[in-house]
């Protein structure tokens, strides 16, 4: 969808330290992230008109786990609140829609997940198609490997270019990485994301309120998300038509972007997404290190929007953020942010 008549902007965000294993509860992580996001803006929790939290009960191991996360937003007196069982990037989408009603000015969205609570390799297969995939233990590494093979066969990536993506994200040396054993052929350990605990919170504001609070708001000028068929074997894995449609709808072709933050947890996904979005070397992709450096499930996509917003806060004029959900880039979200002189 293109820009609404009301200006809606990202005006700040914060993330907790991104670690392999935290002693803190998800609620504690969120309390920290929200405080760190609003305090520099001179806001308190009382100023927040609307919240939308993204998290996943399956990862937390508790039904209605988002209810205890409400403790982090200071929900008294009662607040307008919503929740998505998705990455915080989709919570951002919902807040963007809500702000367009025009009756409220400030929204906070979050994404949170303690991946170390369970074993992601065993949990994700249970979230798959329950008839044909979950009983086989079809795991994310398997699907990623099968998609990598398709992307390589299409000439979009090879094992070397994938290793180069890993080196840009995490450092190291391509030759050394390529000498490693396969983890799940054609993937090696460097092609695969880390397991990360963490949370992020982002503040949105409308029109004049945004301009009063910060010097350079990151205006959301286009935002869309699209999904594909749930069964990866029914899709062309060397393409991502949902990303292409979402980007087109968000106005990617209207003007060049300087930077892009792509939620590519696996190295070949970054190469495929660059191809689908038509990015050449002129677009600086994942300068944050992306999901290959830190992969806090349910917050990874929201962090992409945050890093893209940082580019605008720092004087940049146009940036793209991408988030994804489901096996083999099943569902894709594209958000375009712009600064104004």
């Amino acid at each position: 969808m293109s820009a609404p008549s009301t200006d809606i902007a990202v005006i700040g965000w914060a993330q907790t330290p991104m670690v392999r294993h935290t002693d803190k509860s998800e609620t504690q992580l969120l309390m920290e992230a929200i405080t760190d996001a609003i305090v520099p803006l001179g806001l308190t929790r009382a100023d927040i008109d609307y919240t939308c939290l993204g998290s996943c009960d399956y990862i937390t191991g508790q039904a209605f786990s988002f209810v205890s996360n409400l403790d982090a937003i200071g929900a008294w007196p009662p607040k307008r609140d919503s929740h998505v069982e998705m990455d915080g990037a989709w919570a951002l989408y919902e807040a963007w829609l809500r702000l367009q009603e025009g009756d409220i000015e400030i929204a906070v969205v979050t994404g949170s997940g303690r991946s170390s609570t369970g074993d992601p390799a065993l949990i994700y297969p249970m979230e798959m198609d329950p008839y044909f995939l979950a009983p086989l233990g079809a795991d994310p590494l398997t699907f990623a490997a099968l998609q990598a093979r398709a992307v390589i066969a299409a000439g979009i990536a090879d094992e070397r270019s994938m290793a180069e993506v890993a080196v840009r994200a995490r450092g190291g040396d391509v030759e050394t990485l390529l000498a490693e054993e396969y983890l799940r052929q054609p993937l090696r350990r460097h092609d695969v994301p880390p397991i990360t605990d963490g949370a992020a919170a982002m503040v949105l504001a409308t029109g004049d309120r945004a301009r009063r609070l910060v010097e350079r708001p990151a205006y959301i000028t286009g935002f869309d998300h699209r999904t594909e068929c749930h069964n990866p074997s029914f899709r062309a894995l060397d393409d991502s038509p949902s990303t292409r449609i979402a980007a087109e709808s968000a106005g990617l072709s209207d003007a060049p972007v300087e930077v892009a933050e792509l939620q590519a947890a696996f190295t070949h996904e970054e190469l495929l997404l660059r191809e689908v979005l038509g990015f050449g070397d002129e677009v600086f992709v994942n300068s944050s290190g992306g999901a290959l450096r830190d992969n806090p499930i349910m917050a990874t996509g929201l962090c992409r929007v945050g890093h893209a917003a940082n580019h605008i806060f720092g004087g940049g004029s146009r940036a793209l953020a991408h988030a994804t959900s489901g096996p083999c880039l099943q569902q894709n979200l594209v958000c375009i942010l712009e600064g104004r002189s």
Binding site: R45, P125, S233, F234
Partner: protein, 328 residues
């Protein structure tokens, strides 16, 4: 040092299959694999709707395979407990003869060197089949399907349901405030935490003020009275499900502690028949004696520790129509 607690949650799902998946699963018991016609294509596994348009597909099933061709594969060197084989194997997209889309399944090939795109494979069937995708143990090299163990034949009735047991083990940090509340309960103390910002007092070891969204440390601890009034209650008639230990109707009451604003929720009421519990009843805390201490603590569970519940103390009832509103 934060303490962690491990818990395993199981979800015994019973999934209804519907007319299309049900037909596929029923056919598996007969060692047949069905696809569904979708315009010019044959979709395997069959879907109820056209994945491109969402239009409902007519139930035009097509038998495919049983042999097929490996289109893509990856090698699983170390199988998980969820995987179909307990030794290394390939996950592969297998396009069964007559199908347009590939099926994901395991191939028992021994080594990754034995795998290749274009390789011909056929199912290894389970002798005793229930109508599940894992009635096919895996695929093996060649054109001929095989059966492991004694073949007990197809299902006598159509398969309409599939059991799936999801089981996940989680490891969660225990808030320090919860441990401190449990420790205090061993000395028969009921610990509260007073928020320095709003003055509200919380019991139960949550360790934070949800109104101000701040953490409450040991400096916020206060001792709470052991006497209160039942503000509201429910009589729970237990439904038998896995893990349910109650068999008779029981009460869960909300207790407002004297001189405070603190509610102890979901409280056990001791030595009083369920039909005699009432709003306004005066109660005292009952603590486990050292001899009764168990690993799990008293009847209240969690960080309530040695607090077993509440017992009528004989004082006159409180007659206040607003009491019932106090459940938090």
């Amino acid at each position: 040092m934060t303490r962690f607690i491990e818990s395993t949650i199981t979800f015994p799902y019973k999934r209804s299959l519907g007319p299309v998946v049900g037909a596929f699963m029923t056919a598996l018991t007969e060692k047949q694999i069905l696809g569904i016609r979708c315009q010019d294509a044959v979709l395997v596994p069959p879907m109820e709707w056209d994945p491109a348009t969402g239009a409902e597909l007519p139930h035009e099933f097509v038998e495919v395979g049983p042999a097929g061709t490996v289109e893509s594969w990856t090698w699983v060197g170390t199988p998980s407990i969820q995987h179909p084989l307990d030794h290394s194997f390939a996950f592969a997209f297998i396009r069964l003869d007559g199908a347009t889309t590939p099926l994901l399944h395991a191939v028992d090939a021994g080594t990754p060197q034995a795998m290749s795109e274009g390789m011909r494979v056929a199912p290894r069937w389970r002798g005793s089949r229930e109508g599940r995708i894992d009635d096919i143990i895996c695929f093996v090299r060649g054109e001929a399907a095989e059966t492991e163990g004694e073949d007990t034949g197809g299902a006598t009735d159509p398969v309409t349901r599939m059991d799936y047991l999801a089981s996940i083990t989680y490891r969660n940090p225990v808030p320090e405030a919860a441990d401190r509340a449990t420790e205090a309960s061993r000395e028969h103390r009921l610990l509260g935490l007073r928020c320095p910002t709003c003055g509200r007092v919380y019991a139960g070891g949550r360790g934070l003020c949800p109104v101000d969204a701040i953490e409450l440390g040991p400096e916020c601890e206060v001792d709470l009275p052991h006497t209160g009034t039942i503000t509201n209650f429910a009589i729970v008639t237990p439904v038998q499900y896995p893990g349910q230990t109650e068999t008779e109707p029981f009460v869960r009451a909300f207790v407002l502690l004297d001189g405070t604003d603190v509610i102890i929720p979901y409280s056990v009421v001791i030595e009083l028949p369920a039909d005699q519990v009432k709003v306004g009843l005066r109660v005292d805390a009952v603590w486990a004696s050292p001899a009764e201490e168990t690993e799990e603590g008293g009847g209240m569970g969690g960080s309530w520790g040695s607090l077993l519940g509440w017992i009528p103390n004989g004082e006159p009832d409180i007659d206040d129509p607003d009491l019932v509103n106090r459940i938090f």
